[in-house]
């Protein structure tokens, strides 16, 4: 089994690139805020005050003309553009010229919840309004959920394995897990892995109509009085390689992926006990896979983002770690980035490996009544972080965990 090392990272969030985002999160900056109707108008194109009252969200501001100089970005939609920008960051400094990437067969495993539900809906509405003859061919190409991964491959010359993984807010962690397994099994040598999710009017409407958006406009992971989440957006990707391939090209590892595990809650969140036991199983599988006893873990980065499922996540963490391991995350700062969330958690953990700084669980004040014995990161803190766990719970019952270790052990 090939050991898997992390040799690159890239991201784009409202707080900046990978390094800027990780620092800002550790400092407690918040990436979301009230979005102007004008921005919603750009998201939305028609606006419907009745369907969407929420005005709180995280939105990456970038000018495509500036970040994609000299290339036609129209064929690539926002989810794809975000993925490309994260991938460029992760490949920065990698001594593989773009032409050579084809021969190197670098691949991409991308987590996403929606792909671009905006592209799909806009395509369909154009057909309804103007007639099927007038639908946009370029939009149809992006109507498939794997469009962003395909577009990034075209843009960057990534001819290796190209896979898209969904699974709601667990998609990013699942993508890291799938990429890890493909490299371990010798099916790939180098894979970008993580997630991309755009903020869309359609997504906002879906979440609001499901009653999942915070009425107070604040993400409060695990808090007793949490009232929903705030949607964010962005993309984050790690470059994963077999240790052999990384050594061969003299790459300096940022860390290692030690193990992964996933499971399914057949109650799909309706039964907190079953949900907790599913995540507990996933974490234990990941720890065993990593050969890492509980007492070797220095931090947990959860995906908890103020939703009802946070309780199950807390129960699972309490069952595995008790109060011995600090629990934090990135959603307090970034909002719920859906399929990209797990990859941002990974960035947070890598940053903790390097600077030893764990971000605070912003917005968390009182533990849920069901769980008390967790070491909540109420404040940012400095720890000697050697190994950490990423956990994710989707609204669909999919749960996953990944264990990372810092470079040099």
């Amino acid at each position: 089994m090939e050991p898997v090392v992390i040799t690159g990272r890239g991201a784009l969030s409202p707080l900046g690139n990978a390094a800027q985002t990780a620092v800002a999160v550790a400092e407690g900056q918040v990436a979301y805020g009230p979005i102007e109707d004008e921005v919603l108008g750009r998201l939305d194109r028609s606006g419907d005050p009745e369907a969407l009252r929420t005005r709180m969200a995280g939105r990456v501001e970038y000018n495509p003309r500036e970040v994609f100089p000299g290339r036609n970005f129209r064929p690539v939609d926002r989810t794809g553009q975000l993925a490309i920008l994260a991938a460029e960051g992760a490949l920065e400094g990698v001594e593989v010229a773009e032409e050579d990437r084809r021969g190197a067969f670098i691949g991409l495993v991308l987590g996403t919840m929606f792909g671009s539900v905006h592209t799909i809906s806009a395509f369909d509405r154009r057909g309804l309004e103007a007639g099927p003859k007038y639908v946009k061919p370029l939009d149809f190409a992006n109507s498939v959920i794997n469009a962003a991964a395909g577009q990034a491959a075209i843009w960057l010359g990534l001819t290796g394995t190209n896979s898209t993984v969904t699974g709601g807010a667990a998609a990013g962690v699942l993508a890291l897990a799938q990429a890890t397994q493909l490299i371990r099994d010798g099916r790939a040598h180098a894979l970008l892995a993580g997630g991309s999710e755009e903020l869309s009017y359609e997504g906002l409407v879906g979440f609001e109509q499901a009653g999942l958006l915070s009425s107070g406009g604040r993400v409060r992971p695990f808090d007793r009085d949490r009232d929903g989440t705030v949607l964010g957006e962005g993309s984050a990707l790690l470059l994963l390689e077999s240790q052999g391939a990384a050594t061969l090209r003299g790459a300096r590892p940022l860390g290692r992926v030690l193990g992964h595990g996933s499971a399914f809650d057949t109650s799909r969140g309706r039964d907190p006990e079953r949900a907790a036991s599913a995540l507990e199983r996933a974490i234990r599988v990941a720890l065993k896979d990593a050969g890492s006893p509980v007492d070797t873990i220095n931090a947990v980065f959860t995906g908890a983002c103020g939703l009802p499922g946070d309780v199950a996540e807390a129960k699972a963490l309490a069952a595995v770690f008790g109060d011995a391991v600090p629990v934090t995350g990135t959603a307090s700062n970034l909002g719920c980035c859906l399929g990209a969330g797990g990859a941002f958690q990974a960035l947070g953990l890598l940053h903790a490996f390097e600077g030893g700084r764990l971000p605070a669980l912003g917005g968390f004040e009182r533990a849920p009544t069901e769980v008390s014995s967790l070491d909540w990161c109420r404040e940012a803190r400095t720890v000697d972080c050697r190994r950490g766990v990423l956990t994710a719970t989707s609204f669909d019952g999919v749960v996953a965990a990944v264990v990372l270790e810092r470079a040099g052990g």
Binding site: N72, R74, K136
Partner: protein, 84 residues
């Protein structure tokens, strides 16, 4: 709508598909040789021209469009035919 207006509108459509500044699109620009457009982008321009000018021409006519000038001529001819 004058021929200049038609040409400007067509350049605007092309600009939306290519991310070029309309001012940088020559009157005789060729979609493939000059603008390096792929099949999907070519089709997108045809769709947008058809929609914008309410041409309602057969698909084959749209597929033949290869230059800005082709597109201008198609609009003019279709309009002339409608008036006649």
């Amino acid at each position: 709508m004058s021929i200049v207006d038609i040409r400007d509108k067509i350049k605007e459509i092309i600009a939306n598909v290519t991310n070029l500044d309309p001012a940088d699109i020559a009157d005789n620009a060729h979609f493939i040789d000059d603008l390096q457009l792929d099949s999907l982008s070519l089709m997108e321009i045809g769709v947008d021209v058809d929609y914008e000018f309410k041409l309602g021409v057969p698909e084959e006519r749209l597929q033949e469009l290869r230059t800005v000038e082709d597109s201008v001529q198609l609009v003019l001819q279709t309009r002339a035919a409608k008036v006649a």
